[in-house]
Amino acid sequence: MYRLLLCTRYLRTRFIALASIISVMLGVATMIVVNSVMSGFSYEMRTRINGILADVDIETNSLNGEADAQQLMARARAVTGDRIEAISATVEVFGLLHFRRGGQWIPRPVTLVGIDPEAESKVSPLQGHLDSFRDIVEDGVVTRRKLRPEGASPNWELTDEALAYRTAWKERQRLFFQPTSSDVDPFDEQPAEQLMPEEPVFDSGEPRGTPNFDEISSEPQQLGTLATANAISAEKPGPAAGPANVTNQGFEWVSQDDDGSQKIIQTSATQEAELAGSDRGADDPFQNLMVPDELIEADAAGNTESDVDAPLHGRLYIGAGLVEILREDPRTGGVQLERMVHPGDDVKISTVSAGSPPEPRHFFATVVDVYKSGMSEYDANLVFCNLEYLQEMRGMIDPQSGKGAVTTLKIRLKDYEDAPDVVRSLQNAFPPHLFTVRTWEQKQGPLLAAVDIEAAILNVLLFLIIAVAGFGILAIFYMIVVEKTRDIGILKALGASSRGVMTIFLSYGLALGLVGSGVGAVLGLLFVRYINEIEALLAIIMGRKVFDERIYYFPSIPTQVNAFMVISVALGAIVIAVLASVLPARRASRLHPVQALRYE
């Protein structure tokens, strides 16, 4: 009884004990906060990676892929029973993405994934990562509503906004390039300028990718002249657009003109074309100006149905990280995220064909959507393309059967617990020299392991903090024992046993640990609960954002509180506090009562 009484009394009257409590408290709170944030990050990352990757991937070892996707899928389903939820057959190949910015083409290395959005969205939440399917939120305010109706599934159609944007920049391009030709009489061109916005439909079937493609390979002036030629052709409400040879058509339009200035253009265009043609050493100068045949065919075919502003046949979802840069606003000084490519823009893709040896293939494609998963590793790497078009471009379609080859089967399982089993049976069914079968965790093994190790090391370091607090308790307790020497002597004179005295100090340590870790746990949990508010407060005080969502991709700091973690941290702190009080308690219990009493 006296132990309890003295213990609580010491706790209440010793301010120095408060220091021990605070040190334990801070240690516990820090550990809980850091652990929660770490596991929040880790959890968020895992779910995001898992959201991007399918549960199990079957990849062919060659870039050529395996010819019959249906047969592969059937085989996969056959060996795994009914454990597969969905399969998406895709083509994965490296490539280059080129997009225009500041008058030049910027290349980015990418992983090109040919998908069927319908099938893909069954194996991974593709929809949730596409820009047009979600609201854009900035600083907690919705700045743009989602552009697609609720419940729509991903497809390759452009949104109305993207189409409007596309029309706008097409027009701007035409308007922009027209006056650059100094030889053109400005008065002569006036009707054209007025006409253009209203009547883009009159344009011929000229692939709009043509000038872009040429720009990269020849002089900028050439682009200007060619564009002018295009613009002029657009003004003419003449013959119906048709699948004609673009080069001829463009030339024809110009040559048909009676106007003198137009002829000048014709001449210059021809000269430029010849120049480029001689550079390339090809026979037909006009042919050489143009994109490869398959492109022309494809685009020409597409444009028979609609106008020149219609999106190309190649459609893409491009990773946000590929086209976004953080730029400092010179006026406000704030960092802003700038997107260099928008849905509706055309970009160029370079990749290699199937077959041996692989040959470079280039094609233009229209960006349908921006893909943003929150994992920068993927956002800065992935470009999704429509599967058939990619197969076509890469020559993966078997001319006899018409079946397209695929390189990767993405599998979503009904229950991820089955993954090891499924992988085993798939490995048996798909010969290892042709296929690699892996779960997403195996694919991301090093990254996940690194995160785990990071968390473990952090935990060890943080536990050292509590150990430091433990030594603080030890020192403070020693002091208290010295201070209480006389009291210990009195207690012994009154008949208290050594063990009793020891118990006082041990339970004192226990009480400090309990109070410290209890308050610390509450404090830590509160901190975790209001971490974003605290972050906002810090941002106000420091004048800049501590946690920039544009860098971390998370709208707020992710946290995950694990009850087991909290309890074990609190228990660990209590154990350390008790251990730290063992030495002082032993010293107290061994004090000789006479010596203790002599102490004044």
Binding site: Y2, L5, R486, L491, L494, G495, S497, V594, L597
Partner: protein, 258 residues
């Protein structure tokens, strides 16, 4: 008129607490510092005994040895134990008992009073007085008996005239009050022997006299055996018998009254 008859100094059967041929040597590094050199002393039941001596004569050490706070180098401390439930009364050697047993004896048989009061500063008067009872019982048992104990403590505090100071901390009390609180604490466990180490040493003459009156009345009214250490002959005069220590040995025995 004392309530109890004056005990005879020679009667072995009335010996309550005895120090038999006690030697105590302290080691200071390599040096042996003998403090007591074969002290033989008996306190009889109901006797008020004073031990007087110069500073460093070993009188406090002797008291500590007799109160089982320390162990003699040579010699024995004997205690006459009343046989409970008809068991024979016998005199036992107590200094060599295991520590736990000595703790119990200290708690039940002895009451201590010190020169510097030695109250626990964190506890108020009532809690200080209750301390020996708390030490005696487990928390459960104490909780069960707490009312009885509180009454007991209140009665004793009443006796030492401190009822108005129950909830005060020792730091809020005067020296005399603190000593009276210490006496109450020594008495609450109903000890057989009261060991007082310079109980008036830190008090002014008048307060000291009050304390001495209290001790005398306890001795007379309740037959409490009191062994008191003091350096003040005037104080020692009030006891039945004086043992004078010099150089670690008993100088002479004399009757205080003589």
């Amino acid at each position: 008129m004392p309530a109890f008859p004056q005990p005879s100094t020679n009667d072995a059967s009335t010996r309550h607490l005895s120090a038999v041929a006690i030697e105590k040597v302290y080691m200071k590094g390599q040096h042996r510092i003998p403090v007591l050199r074969g002290v033989e002393m008996h306190a009889h039941r109901g006797e008020f005994l004073s031990i007087v001596g110069q500073s460093g004569s070993g009188k406090s050490t002797l008291l500590h040895l007799m109160g089982l706070l320390d162990q003699p180098t040579v010699g024995e401390v004997r205690l006459r134990c009343e046989g409970a439930d008809g068991a024979p009364t016998e005199t036992l050697r107590v200094d060599n008992l295991p520590p736990a047993t000595r703790d119990v004896i200290r708690n039940r048989v002895f009451g201590f009073i010190f020169q510097f009061y030695h109250l626990l500063p964190e506890l108020n008067v009532l809690e200080n007085v209750l301390a020996p009872l708390m030490i005696r019982d487990s928390a459960m048992k104490y909780w069960k008996n707490r009312r009885e104990y509180r009454d007991q403590a209140n009665a004793i505090i009443e006796q030492v005239e401190l009822s108005h100071r129950l909830k005060h901390r020792p730091s809020e009390l005067s020296g005399g009050e603190m000593q009276r609180a210490a006496i109450a604490r020594a008495l609450v466990a109903r000890p057989e022997i009261l060991l007082a180490d310079e109980p008036t040493g830190n008090l002014d003459a008048q307060t000291g006299r009050g304390i001495m009156d209290l001790l005398c009345s306890l001795n007379e009214d309740h037959g409490l055996t009191i062994v008191m250490v003091t350096h003040d002959d005037a104080i020692a005069e009030q006891s039945h018998r004086i043992v004078r220590l010099a150089n670690g040995n008993v100088e002479r025995l004399e009757k205080a009254a003589a």
